[in-house]
Symmetry: C2
Subunit: 208 residues, 2 copies
Amino acid sequence: MNNPAGNAAMSQRTPFNKPKTARGEATKKAILSAAERVIGARGYNDASIGQITSEAGVAQGTFYIYFKTKEEVFSELVLEMGRLVRHTISDATQAISNRLEAEQAGLTAFLEFVQAHPDLYRIVQEAQFVDPDAYREYYSAFAEGYRSGLTEAARDGQISQGDPDTRAWALMGIARALGEQIVVFGNKAPITDLVDTAYDLIANGLKP
Amino acid sequence: MNNPAGNAAMSQRTPFNKPKTARGEATKKAILSAAERVIGARGYNDASIGQITSEAGVAQGTFYIYFKTKEEVFSELVLEMGRLVRHTISDATQAISNRLEAEQAGLTAFLEFVQAHPDLYRIVQEAQFVDPDAYREYYSAFAEGYRSGLTEAARDGQISQGDPDTRAWALMGIARALGEQIVVFGNKAPITDLVDTAYDLIANGLKP
DNA sequence: TCGAAACATGAATACTGATTCATGTTTCAT
DNA sequence: ATGAAACATGAATCAGTATTCATGTTTCGA
């Protein structure tokens, strides 16, 4: 879609209609939460406003007090997922100075998060088609943090040399694929097993 | 004799309404090709039957001579992508007995394919939401081939030990992420650069 | 306490777009 | 050469659902 007046440092996307009262705050939260469940379960297009408001226990028109369109509630969910998952991983890796250890801890935290929030995970994936801008923002913010971490680690000799951008995408691809195993394919293997194998691959490669 | 439901090991999904004449064959091909372009460009939901038939140069009703529903044409495109991409990679790796070399060649072939067929690539990704069964079939067929190759290579000592399933998903995740860079994020880096970095990671890992 | 702003309702609107169908036209085996 | 099957047409149908709106109800600061 169009991005008029695209300020570079614009992180916030027009958070209008902020509720003014506690009651409104609660209602908006209820709608967002219902939307997460309904859209996560049925997908964006099969989820109707009626289902969402009914699940939230409010009238259909109430939806439009807090969201301008159906797409807007979706975007907010993608934003929320971005904040939550970055926060989660940051928490899990903050204290770890060794990059490879941080890699392992971050991957574990990510997989635990998606296991706990499968609806949010699916929504982010679907954003690729429903709201490409939100998807790009989510993904780019992630990649940027990853890249700078890898650059630093390579400078400090903690890891070998190699293009940090490509490496960041590859590592994110691994995390995504394992997350998909859990959420989409219903893989029941313990997360530690997945992480152990993946970490060995990331650290040592396939060579004998 | 020509029993359409004949073969025992047929996991294929009812390829009914096969055209009976050359004319019909050509029309169906035109619709499929138009659908690939229109759905690839606008996404499944924003693509209308009218756009597809108009692009194909036939009347709207003609669509339903060859496809029972809108979803059916989508499924056929996913199937086609699966066939094409497996064939492409198989061709590129057939003659290579060393697994690591095959990995490199296969990744290159895959990325070249998605660069040449961005519409098909997007359609497969969207299948996750539009036709989960088709998506699962596509992905599983891929993973199975991957896994058996890794199992063999580990047995022969060409690569180190490690759970082949998890490794297969991780490697597919890398390939997908790089494909997405090219198709979705418009990354213009030469494929060989991407492959060089990714291959080094796959072969040697991040350890210094 | 009061009234203006915020919030809530749900029926009515408005529009899109998939699918059908009655009616022609073309193909091809005989 | 011929007629039955296959193919083609595009206007009409039909259902779903996002969004609006006129009308209440609740909140909360002054």
